[in-house]
């Protein structure tokens, strides 16, 4: 299997090409091809992952993409280790679930084939990203997942907001990619190669070290900040919810947005050697996490709550990695992928039923859609970190990673509290209580099997996927996905207990406010209007960016264009005008003096002639007179 692992991204690539070139007129066929391809990737991916499970060797295959002398050698290839195996499992599983789910969700869409072509493009690129054995190929696929994201966010391009969101996502992440590119340039210049192996051995042997290494690390991290929606480039992810909900689940929750986390995890050698860069990573992570979680407390759009939750959880992973918790970050990446995909697909099922995103128009939906409700509840419990669901185990590792940094520990627990609260606020407002919009409630219905079966499968994974990290397991997660050395996680009973308690109290508060009604949310809101408004407006990031960057840039463009037209082109045209003026002058000079001289000579000649012609009158008397006069003169002279 491992020898043919390069086929894993090829299947969806072929599917995309087939749909675009041949079958785009046949909806069912296009979807079938796409799902068949991702199923193959799924089987291949899982068997590769299983075969590297517990196998410490790193498998590599590469070929020379460019080989033009020693100063220009860029091989590309794939590399399979525990981390890649885990990512393959995550990506192929969620991709398969989402593609099946989309059969139902997108059933009535006129651009069904195109949708599956884009999904296949994304799957191909994402699988390439996790398989890549070098930064170059990783960057290539990194941009291609960004393209797929752009196309899918703007899938319903008639909607102005969707079209804007796609553009915003692409440009914002590209800002981060600016850093990524510079990081690549630095690494290539410093290490002479872009393969993971080459770069990391150069880092280990201090070929690249000190300030340059720190800068390189920060540059790479800038890419991660863009892709994984960390502060200050997080603003695109909530807007990206304009895309179809299965896309949000696949790209903007489970896979593409964790690419940044994956990048940091992959580059762990760099961050371990550059501890200042690592500290920046940790701080960005926790700030993002706290900020996004607090925004999530007050949002009313079901998908936006989940989006901020995603940003917040990504912050968790980034922070853990920054603090050196390699296994914690990657473990949480995996469990989060499953329960967050489930949450999004559950939200999609709800939206499919009630045709609104606003939780204020929902309520009591448990009665109408039991499968959706129960699976959503399981996911919410998992993200809240309730024992023994997957989130409990991974969140515990995150808390463990912060030990020794009290501020981080406290903030991590605060985020855990907020997460549990907003998630259950969402659950209670959506599924319990009385319907707040009777009309929508009456038309609600459980989604078709194509949608509920993926929910059930993901629910199972949300429960059990944490168990491969059980501390007392012989070949647990950390003995397969590790940096440098396989190890056994330490299980901190006290901290696990505290974290669980914090989660439960968040749930409890939500229960009192939104289920029992013993605390009135309106009164809480009235108490803290300023804070509430700030949170509701997401800390005014978009507004600030507009005032600080977008509009000044636009003004600058206008100014430069004025300069271009008036100064530079003005100089060119001015030079032209000077030439014209010069030639006008020349013409005057020419006509007056040069031509004047010519004419003058003529005039002079004529004038002279006019005088002289009196000598030649043709009359004999005159001639005789002249002869006589001449003789007189001669005689006198003598």
């Amino acid at each position: 299997m491992i020898q043919t692992a390069w086929l894993i991204p090829i299947f969806p690539l072929v599917a995309m090409a087939a749909i675009v070139l041949f079958t785009h007129r046949h909806r069912a066929l296009s979807a079938g091809i796409s799902i068949a391809a991702v199923s193959l990737s799924f089987l291949w991916g899982w068997s590769v992952a299983v075969s590297v499970w517990g196998d410490p060797t790193v498998h590599r295959m590469s070929f020379d993409w460019l080989n033009l002398g020693e100063s220009m050698y860029i091989p590309i290839g794939i590399q399979i280790d525990g981390l890649t195996g885990m990512m393959l499992v995550v990506v192929t599983t969620v991709a398969l679930m989402v593609q099946i789910y989309s059969l139902g969700y997108m059933r009535d869409d006129p651009r069904y084939s195109r949708y599956y072509a884009y999904l296949s493009l994304f799957t191909m690129a994402m699988l390439t990203l996790v398989l890549a054995d070098n930064f170059f190929l990783m960057f290539v696929s990194w941009e291609l997942v960004g393209l797929a994201s752009y196309l899918l966010i703007g899938f319903w391009f008639e909607k102005q907001s969707a079209a804007d969101a796609g553009k915003k996502a692409f440009i914002t992440t590209r800002l981060g990619d600016l850093g990524f590119i510079l990081g690549l340039l630095l690494l290539y210049t410093g290490c002479g190669t872009l393969t993971f192996q080459g770069v990391f051995s150069a880092v280990d042997s201090h070929v690249l070290s000190g300030g340059l290494l720190t800068i390189a690390g920060l540059c790479l991290f800038a890419g991660a900040v863009g892709k994984s929606a960390q502060v200050p480039l997080h603003v695109w992810l909530p807007d990206a919810m304009e895309g179809p909900t299965p896309v949000s689940a696949l790209i903007h929750a489970a896979t593409m947005v964790v690419a940044g986390v994956y990048l940091v995890a992959r580059s762990m050698s760099i961050f371990l050697a550059a501890d200042r860069a690592a500290m920046v990573v940790a701080w960005i992570g926790i700030i993002t996490s706290v900020m996004a979680a607090s925004i999530g407390l007050v949002q009313n759009d079901i998908k936006r709550v989940l989006a901020y939750s995603t940003v917040s959880q990504l912050g968790y992973m980034i922070m853990a990695l920054g603090l050196g918790g390699f296994t914690a970050g990657t473990f949480h990446l995996m469990t989060h992928a499953f329960f967050k995909a489930l949450l999004f697909l559950g939200a999609g099922s709800v939206i499919h039923a009630v045709h609104t995103n606003d939780i204020r128009e929902m309520g009591g939906l448990h009665a109408k859609m039991k499968t959706t409700s129960i699976t959503f509840l399981i996911a919410a419990l998992a993200i809240a970190g309730v024992f023994p669901l997957s989130g409990f185990w991974s969140k515990d590792e995150i808390v463990a990673a912060t030990l020794g940094h009290p501020i981080f520990t406290v903030l991590t627990l605060a985020v855990a509290f907020m997460t549990a609260f907003y998630m259950f606020r969402l659950y209670f407002l959506t599924f319990t209580g009385k319907p707040r919009d009777q009309h929508k409630f009456d038309h609600a219905h459980e989604s078709p099997k194509t949608m509920t079966v993926p929910l059930q499968i993901l629910a199972v994974l949300s429960v059990v996927s944490g168990w491969i990290g059980l501390p007392w397991l012989e070949h647990g997660f950390s003995s397969v996905v590790f940096h440098e050395h396989p190890h056994h996680p330490e299980f901190h009973v006290v901290w696990a207990f505290i974290a669980a308690l914090v989660g439960l109290s968040g749930i409890g508060l939500a229960y009192m406010m939104y289920y029992k009604g013993s605390i009135d949310p309106e009164r809480v809101r009235a108490r803290a209007t300023g804070l509430y408004t700030t949170l509701l407006n997401k800390y005014y990031f978009d507004e600030a960016y507009s005032v600080l960057f977008v509009r000044p840039y636009y003004t600058m463009c206008r100014g430069w264009f004025w300069f271009d037209q008036h100064a530079i082109d003005g100089a060119v045209n001015g030079l032209g005008r000077v030439s014209v003026a010069w030639s006008v002058f020349n013409r005057w000079f020419d006509e007056t003096f040069v031509d004047g001289a010519v004419n003058g000579v003529g005039w002079l000649t004529r004038g002279f002639g006019a005088i002289v012609r009196h000598l030649q009158t043709g009359r004999v008397q005159n001639y005789a007179f002249i002869v006589f006069a001449a003789l007189v003169v001669l005689w006198l002279l003598q």
């Binding site: 491992i2 060797t57 790193v58 498998h59 590599r60 295959m61 590469s62 020379d64 993409w65 460019l66 080989n67 033009l68 002398g69 020693e70 100063s71 220009m72 050698y73 091989p75 290839g77 054995d133 290539v140 696929s141 941009e143 291609l144 393209l147 391009f157 008639e158 102005q160 079209a163 804007d164 796609g166 553009k167 692409f170 440009i171 590209r174 800002l175 990619d177 600016l178 590119i181 510079l182 340039l185 290539y188 210049t189 290490c191 002479g192 190669t193 393969t195 192996q197 080459g198 051995s201 070929v207 840039y553 463009c557 430069w560 264009f561 271009d564 530079i568 082109d569 060119v572 032209g576």
Partner: protein
Amino acid sequence: MGILTFLIFWPALAALVLLFLPTRHAHRAGWIAAATAAIEWIASLWLWFGFVPGSGFQFVEHAQWIPRFGVAYQLGVDGISLLLVLLTTLLTLIGVASSFSAISASRKGYYASLLLLETGVIGAFCATDVFLFYVFWEAMLVPMYFLIGVWGGERRIYATIKFVLYTMAGSLLMLVAIIWMYQYGARSGAGTFNLSDWYGYSIPPSTQVWLFAAFALAFAIKVPMFPFHTWLPDAHVQAPAAGSVMLAGVLLKLGTYGFFRFAVPLFPQGYAALADTIWVLAVVGIVYGAVMTLIQSDVKSLIAYSSVSHLGFVMLGLSAMNLIGASGSVLQQINHGISTGALFLLVGMIYERRHTRQIDDYGGIYAVVPVFTSVFLIVALSSIGLPGTNGFVGEFLILLGAFAVRPIFTAVATVGIVLAAGYMLWMVRRVFFGTVTRPENEHIRDLGFRELAVVVPLVILIIWVGVYPRPFLDRINPDLQNWLQRVHASGPCPCGINKTTASTLVPFDTTGAIHPASGQDGGG
């Protein structure tokens, strides 16, 4: 008769036939031109397959022309010009085929001009005698003058006069320098215009500066480099679509080609003295062009300014003066020709339907013309250098090369990549996305078969170069290696830094770092 002579004069011959074509057959002019260009293109493929990388000038032809002054008819192509010649024949074919429905007035003259332009451009790329080069360099202005001035837009006269005068004025100093070089050779023997002989001259550095400046000015206007770029938007906006394709795709490349072929290797020390200026102008051009685009309301002038930015990258790669940068630079010349050529082509197609190029006159037409939009999107993405397309390969190599020499400058240039995404996607957003805002846009025809046939080859090239550029780079590189040796051999390294720093920066310990990665332990 050699293949190069055929390539140069076959279009001219056809143009002559076209001019004498009886008026009652004028409507066939397009087909005659297309057949001519197709034969030309097929013939040029001979170069691709027959080319032996790294053996200097090939397909060489030599004949006396004006022996008294040492002027010879002398042709050859190497890795620097090979792909440019191929690009020219392809774009001419595409330009001709795309004009069938766009041009209805005086077809004979139009197609004759296009073909004569091809003659001039290929001649300039193939000439290895400087006098001959100069003849072609000036001669190609004439057909371009007519293309813009007769078949152009409203302000065509202004644009075409500006274009011709600007270019000619720039060339005059080059002519002086050429004559100086001839005299210099004549002093120590028989005067000649043979480029290979000129490479051997050892000219005092202080003189080289002036000579380089004279050549560089002519080429910088043609590229165009900031601040000599203002003729470009005017010319592009006014030119007919095929004229823009040729202008952006091929004519601008004569500027960058001139730097590679003449200015830099003839006067390496002169270049070294002015290298800093070129670095700065290249970086300024990249950012400046990108900033300009955002404010444009006309799609064509947007693309024109983006060309200023992209050609800044080409000059940046040249400035790096190392193999990666130079290869990227030569490749990016081709890439820009493909991508920007395709963009102008597509803009021309939509112009034929709606007779406007204002961004605001469109909006939401994705739903109306999905195929057109998809093709446009691919081309636009290649223009902004998305990985998997040609633009990325060129830009990345250029950045790799330049970064090793001047990291800060290169970092600034990288900003151009982000800005590019901004202006391109914003334009795409406003033209294609959203709902259809104007009733007259509701029933635009999507691309027809002929139009697809014209543009698909470019799309294929975009992806081919993007995914597997080796066939192209393998042809470019060996000659560039020799080129670099020639430039570096003469005196101080002209890249602006001294050699020891460069070597510690660039080819790092390749033995240790690279080879373990090439997969001995793979496949377990």
